[in-house]
C-alpha cells in the first residue's frame, strides 16, 4: 500500500477549516493556535508534486541500461582500471599498433571491448523483443514487416558479432 500522495488542494480557507476541526491530529490543533493563529497565509498556487509509480516499460528501459552497464564489465573497469584500448609495438617498424582485445586471459578486458560486446548482447535482446512486437500486435502491416525484419537482422548480427569477438579473444575456441 503506497503512502497516499500529498495532493492537498490549498484553495480557499473555509474548506480548510472544516476539515481541520474534525481532525484528530493533536499537533495540527497546537499548530493552529501558535504560530498560525498569528500569521496569515497568502493565497498559493503551488501544488506538491504527486509521486506516481513509473510505468512498467519505463522501468524496463532503465533495467536494460543497467544490464548493459553490468554485462560490459563496468565493475571490472572501475576496480582494475584497464586502458581504453591496448597497444603493442611493431617489432620491425616501431609503429604503435592498437590492440582491441586483451589477449591471454578469459577474465580480463579493455574498456572499449567490454562496451562493444555489451552493446551486442543488448542488441540481440532488443531484436527478440522486436520480433515479439511484430508478431503479436494489431499494427499496420508495414510496421509489422519492418519490426520483424529489424528484429531478425538484430539477432543475426549480434550473434555473429558475439561469436566473432569470442573467437578473437579465445583463439582456441571450439577446437
Amino acid at each position: 500500500m503506497a503512502p497516499k500522495p500529498e495532493s492537498q488542494t490549498t484553495s480557499s480557507s473555509p474548506v480548510h477549516t472544516t476539515s481541520d476541526d474534525s481532525s484528530i491530529d493533536p499537533i495540527l490543533h497546537i499548530l493552529k493556535i501558535f504560530p498560525y493563529g498569528l500569521l496569515r497565509l497568502p493565497r498559493f498556487r503551488l501544488k506538491l508534486p504527486t509521486l506516481r509509480l513509473p510505468s512498467s516499460m519505463a522501468v524496463f528501459s532503465l533495467l536494460l541500461l543497467t544490464y548493459f552497464a553490468v554485462v560490459s564489465g563496468i565493475v571490472y573497469d572501475v576496480i582494475v582500471e584497464p586502458p581504453g584500448i591496448g597497444s603493442t609495438q611493431d617489432r620491425h617498424t616501431g609503429a604503435v599498433r592498437p590492440v582491441v582485445f586483451l589477449p591471454g586471459r578469459v577474465n580480463g578486458q579493455y574498456i572499449i571491448e567490454g562496451l562493444s560486446s555489451g552493446f551486442m548482447f543488448v542488441l540481440g535482446g532488443v531484436g527478440i523483443v522486436l520480433l515479439d512486437l511484430a508478431l503479436d500486435r494489431n499494427r499496420a502491416r508495414s510496421v509489422k514487416v519492418s519490426f520483424a525484419s529489424a528484429g531478425v537482422a538484430s539477432v543475426v548480427i549480434s550473434y555473429v558479432m558475439s561469436m566473432l569477438f569470442l573467437r578473437i579473444k579465445i583463439p582456441a575456441y571450439l577446437q
Binding site: 500500500m1 474534525s22 554485462v71 564489465g73 565493475v75 578469459v106 571491448e113 535482446g125 523483443v129
Partner: protein, 710 residues
C-alpha cells in the same frame, strides 16, 4: 488353441474355435486402440520423458574428469570437506558436532564443529549410510565425488517446477534443459568438486520455489516447507545471506507496488520466524539473525508487515476514509521513527555488528582492494569481464533482456520475484566472478521464459494458417479468431514460411548453445587442479601428479608430529592427504597468522629462520613451476605474500621487491627478492645452512627433500 486345432472334433468345437479366433483378434485390435493415448496422456508422456532425459544429461555431462583421470576430489577446499565427512562417518554425529582439531592452524587449533556449515557433510553421510543400508558397499570418497552431479540433476527438477509456477510447463521444461548444461553452474558442480556450492544451489532454488509457491497460494504448508528449505540452505553455505536479503527486498517491492495481500503476509511471516529459529540451530550462524547488520533488513520488513496488517485492520474497523488518512500518516511516521531509532541505538551500542568485509565488498567493490588484501587476492573474487559472462552464459545473455521484457508484459507476484532475483544476482555476478554461479538459475529461468514465449508465438503462426485451411467457418470463437487471423494472414503472404524459418533459426541457436556448453565443460571446467596435464614434445598427453606424490611422501617419510609450513592454498590438501599438522590453511580466519607466514616467506633467510623456529616448523612446502612453465606456482603468488605480510608487519614493503615498478625474478631482480627465502628455496644448488627446504620440481618427477633441524 490346440484343442481347437485338433481335428476330428465336433462342429461345435470348430464353431467354438472360430468364435475364440474372432474374439482373440477383437481383443488384439482393442489393445492396439488402447495404446493410442489421449492428448493429455501424450503430453504427460512427453513431459516425463523429457525430464528423465534432462536428469540423466545433467548427471553425465559432469563426469568428464572422472572418465579422463580417476574418481578423485578436486581443488583445495573440497579436501577439507572430504576430511570432515570421513570423520563424521567414522565417529558419528556427536563427535563431529563437538570436534576440536589440533592438526590445522598450529598452534592455535580450530573448533571445526562450530566453524563450518554442516549441510554438505551431513547430506553426503546420509547418502552413504542409506546406500550401506541397502548393502551397496561404496567407499565414502565415491559418494563425495558424485554428490554434486546428483544434486545438479535434482536442481533441474526444481527448475522445471519453478518455471511451471512462473510461466507455464513449456517454460519449465526449457529451464530444466538450460540449467542442466549451463557452464556457470557446471563450473562448481562437476564430479569431484565436493564443495558447499554443489548442494547450496539446489537449496537456494528450492527455497525460492517454495516461497514463491507460498506467496501464490497463501497456504501455511508451503510457507512451512520454504522455512525448512531455508534451514537447509543456511546449513549448506554462507551465501544464505543472499536469500535473507532478497526476500525482504522482494516483499518491500510488492508493498510499494500495492500488492499487499493476506497470502504475502502468511508466507513471509511464517518463513521469517520459523526460518530464523531453525537457522539458529547451526553453531556457526548462532545469533547472527538478531545481531548482525546483514540480517537487519529482514527484521525491518517483518515489523513493517505487522504495521501494514494493523493499518488494514484499523481501516476495516474505521469505515471513515478521512480519519483513516490522518491515522495512516501518524502511524507511518511513528513506525519509521521508532525503527530508525532502534537501528541507531543498536548500531551505536555495538549490539548490531556492522556488515562484514566479505559482504560489504559486494556493495562497495573498491573496498577490498584498499583494505582487505586477503579477500582481494583470491582469483575468484576478481570482478567479471565480458568474456567471462559470454563463456559461462553464451546465448542466455541475449535471451535475458528478452525474458525481462516478457516478464514485464505479464507482471504478477511470481514474475516480479524472478526479475528481482535476476537483476540482483547479475549485479553481484558483475562484482565477483565466483557469483556467476548464483546468477545462473535466474538467468536460465528468465531465458526459458523468452524461449518459451517466442516459440509459442512462432508455432501459433505456423499452425494458424493450417487451422483455417482445415476447419470451416462457424466453429465458435476459435473459428472467428482463426478467420480473423486468416484475414490478417492474407496481408502477409509468406508469414507461415517466415515463421518456419525463424523456428529453424531458434533451434539452430539452441543447438549452438549445447555445443558451446559441452566444449566449455570438457576443456575448461573438468580439470582436477591437483593433477595437471600438458602436451608433450610429440603431442602426447603428459600427466603431472606431483602434488599427490609430494603429499604422500610427507605422509610416509616424516614423523607423525611434524609441522609443515606452506602458503595457505595447500593447507587443506596437506592435512587431508599428508595427514600432518599445518601452520595455515584455506580457512583464512586469522589474518595475523597468515601474515606471519607471508613475512617468513619474504624475509632474508636468517630472519625467516627465527620466525620459523618460533612457530615450531619442521618442514616447508614450496611449489615451483619453472621447469615446465606452470604458471600458478608460489613465485607468481609471491607478491600477495608480500602484500598480506606487509598489511600486518610494516617491515615488509612491496616496493623493495620490485624493479622500476615491475616484478622480476631473474638475475635483474631486486636484491631483497634475490635473497629472500622463497627464491633461494627454488634455486637448484643446495644451500648449506640449517634450512634445506622441501620443494618439488615439475617434469622431473623426482623429488629432493631436505632434513629437519636438530
Amino acid at each position: 488353441m490346440e484343442g481347437a486345432n485338433g481335428g476330428g472334433k465336433s462342429a461345435a468345437t470348430q464353431g467354438g474355435s472360430k468364435a475364440t479366433d474372432l474374439s482373440a483378434s477383437n481383443t488384439f485390435l482393442f489393445s492396439l486402440k488402447t495404446l493410442k493415448l489421449k492428448t493429455k496422456q501424450q503430453e504427460l508422456l512427453i513431459r516425463v520423458s523429457i525430464l528423465c532425459l534432462v536428469y540423466i544429461l545433467a548427471f553425465i555431462t559432469r563426469l568428464f574428469s572422472v572418465l579422463r583421470y580417476e574418481s578423485m576430489i578436486h581443488e583445495f577446499d573440497p579436501y577439507f570437506n572430504y576430511r570432515t565427512t570421513l570423520f563424521l562417518t567414522q565417529k558419528g554425529f556427536y563427535e563431529f558436532w563437538n570436534w576440536f582439531d589440533s592438526e590445522s592452524w598450529y598452534p592455535l587449533g580450530r573448533i571445526i564443529g562450530g566453524t563450518l556449515y554442516p549441510g554438505l557433510m551431513v547430506t553426503a553421510a546420509l547418502i552413504y549410510w542409506s546406500l550401506r543400508f541397502l548393502r551397496f558397499a561404496v567407499h565414502i570418497r565415491e559418494v563425495c565425488v558424485l554428490t554434486a552431479p546428483f544434486f545438479a540433476s535434482n536442481t533441474t527438477i526444481v527448475a522445471y517446477f519453478f518455471g511451471k509456477e512462473l510461466w507455464d510447463s513449456g517454460a519449465g521444461l526449457v529451464a530444466a534443459a538450460l540449467i542442466a548444461i549451463c557452464p556457470g553452474y557446471i563450473s562448481r558442480s562437476v564430479a569431484g568438486s565436493y564443495d558447499n556450492e554443489g548442494v547450496a544451489i539446489f537449496a537456494l532454488l528450492l527455497t525460492f520455489y517454495l516461497f514463491v509457491k507460498a506467496v501464490n497460494t497463501g497456504s501455511l504448508a508451503w510457507a512451512l516447507a520454504s522455512a525448512f528449505g531455508y534451514f537447509y540452505m543456511v546449513s549448506a553455505w554462507g551465501g544464505y545471506v543472499f536469500i535473507i536479503n532478497l526476500i525482504p527486498l522482494y516483499v518491500l517491492v510488492l508493498l510499494i507496488t500495492g500488492r499487499y495481500s493476506m497470502r504475502l503476509y502468511v508466507a513471509y511471516n511464517c518463513m521469517y520466524v520459523l526460518g530464523m529459529l531453525l537457522a539458529m540451530q547451526i553453531r556457526f550462524v548462532g545469533f547472527q539473525h538478531v545481531q548482525s547488520g546483514e540480517h537487519m533488513a529482514a527484521m525491518g520488513v517483518f515489523f513493517l508487515m505487522q504495521v501494514f496488517y494493523f493499518l488494514d485492520w484499523v481501516k476495516y474497523q474505521l469505515n471513515d476514509p478521512r480519519l483513516f488518512e490522518a491515522f495512516l500518516r501518524i502511524t507511518v511516521t511513528c513506525a519509521v521513527g521508532v525503527g530508525a531509532l532502534a537501528l541507531g541505538v543498536g548500531t551505536a551500542s555495538g549490539y548490531i555488528s556492522p556488515w562484514t568485509g566479505r559482504f560489504y565488498s559486494l556493495l562497495d567493490p573498491t573496498y577490498a582492494k584498499d583494505h582487505i588484501p586477503i579477500i582481494a587476492s583470491v582469483s575468484e573474487h576478481q570482478p567479471t569481464a565480458w568474456s567471462s559472462f559470454m563463456f559461462d552464459f553464451h546465448i542466455l545473455l541475449f535471451l535475458f533482456p528478452a525474458g525481462l521484457y516478457f516478464c514485464f508484459q505479464r507482471l504478477s507476484d511470481a514474475t516480479i520475484f524472478i526479475v528481482m532475483y535476476g537483476l540482483t544476482s547479475m549485479y553481484f555476478a558483475g562484482v565477483m566472478v565466483r557469483l556467476i554461479l548464483v546468477a545462473t538459475p535466474a538467468v536460465c529461468l528468465i531465458s526459458a521464459i523468452a524461449v518459451s514465449a517466442t516459440i509459442k508465438n512462432l508455432t501459433q503462426l505456423v499452425r494458424a494458417k493450417s487451422k483455417v485451411a482445415h476447419t470451416g467457418t462457424g466453429k465458435g470463437t476459435s473459428g472467428t479468431k482463426a478467420s480473423s487471423k486468416a484475414s490478417r494472414d492474407q496481408s502477409l503472404p509468406f508469414q507461415r514460411n517466415g515463421a518456419i524459418a525463424l523456428l529453424l533459426g531458434a533451434f539452430y541457436l539452441l543447438s549452438r548453445y549445447a555445443t558451446h556448453c559441452t566444449w566449455v565443460t570438457s576443456e575448461a571446467y573438468s580439470s582436477p587442479s591437483i593433477v595437471l596435464a600438458a602436451r608433450g614434445a610429440y603431442g602426447n598427453r603428459v600427466i603431472f601428479d606431483d602434488y599427490r606424490e609430494a603429499y604422500f611422501w610427507l605422509r610416509q617419510n616424516t614423523p607423525q608430529d611434524a609441522k609443515i609450513m606452506s602458503w595457505w592454498d595447500y593447507g587443506y590438501q596437506i592435512t587431508a592427504m599428508g595427514n600432518r599438522t599445518v601452520i595455515v590453511d584455506n580457512n583464512t580466519w586469522n589474518n595475523t597468522h597468515i601474515a606471519t607466514v607471508g613475512r617468513a616467506m619474504s624475509s632474508y633467510e636468517d630472519e625467516a629462520y627465527e620466525i620459523m623456529r618460533s612457530l615450531d616448523v619442521d618442514y616447508v612446502l614450496v611449489v615451483f613451476g619453472g621447469v615446465t612453465g606452470y604458471s600458478s606456482d608460489d613465485i607468481n603468488k609471491f607478491l600477495w605474500m608480500v602484500r598480506i605480510g606487509g598489511g600486518v608487519f610494516p617491515v615488509i614493503k612491496e616496493p623493495d621487491y620490485l624493479v622500476n615498478g615491475e616484478y622480476r625474478v631473474d638475475k635483474g631482480a631486486a636484491p631483497k627478492m634475490l635473497n629472500c627465502l622463497i627464491r633461494s628455496s627454488c634455486q637448484k644448488e643446495q644451500l648449506e645452512d640449517e634450512y634445506k627446504l622441501s620443494y618439488y620440481r615439475f617434469g622431473e618427477l623426482t623429488t629432493e627433500y631436505g632434513k629437519p633441524p636438530g
